[in-house]
């Protein structure tokens, strides 16, 4: 039996999909701490991302591939991660077939993606993914 709170979570798969999908993003939050050496366990992947038009398109395409839907919404609420939708939101909490994924446009402590990226380190398990 699996607790609903401990859903399937494959952060490496999520990172791989984002990287191969050409998304410009930085890993932040608990999983970034894990990659830096914290022995904690986290149940979701937090990323911040460039809000440039082409990147929002890439991100939207990856979210469709991941079967992303709104987290914590019991009813079947249609969610279309198109460029216009992604450009409007500051925070999206999603569940995917590979676990929970939080999208933060301007997370606290990192005013912009570029600022975060200057301090980021390459994440060696997924080419192109960066960790703040």
């Amino acid at each position: 039996m699996t607790s609903a709170r401990w859903a399937d979570f494959d952060p490496r798969k999520l990172l791989g999909c984002l990287a191969t999908g050409g998304v410009d993003f930085v890993v932040v939050g608990g999983y970034a701490a894990v990659l830096h050496g914290s022995p904690r366990i986290t149940q979701d992947l937090d990323i911040c991302y460039s809000r440039e038009t082409h990147n929002l398109r890439s991100l939207g395409a990856v979210l469709l591939d991941l079967n992303a839907r709104l987290f914590g919404v019991d009813e079947e609420v249609p969610f279309m991660p198109d460029q216009a939708t992604l450009a409007r939101v500051e925070l999206l909490t999603l569940e995917t077939d590979n676990g929970k994924l939080d999208l933060l446009a301007t997370p606290s402590g990192a005013a912009a993606l570029l600022r975060a990226r200057r301090r980021a380190r390459p994440h060696t398990t997924s080419a192109g993914a960066w960790c703040a």
């Binding site: 952060p11 999983y31 894990v34 022995p39 994440h123």
Partner: protein
Amino acid sequence: MGRRLELSAPPLAPHDEAQIRKHLRMTPAERAAAHDTAYRNTRDLAGNARRVA
């Protein structure tokens, strides 16, 4: 008229420094793999746990 500043801090929660050292010696890829294993183990434990009165 002098003033006195008193500072205090709550005691740190106990933590396993050996585990921290072990993780810091790992590569990011090894840390990711260790997280996957720990996540699966914790999920299994949570799934098998039951509340006792």
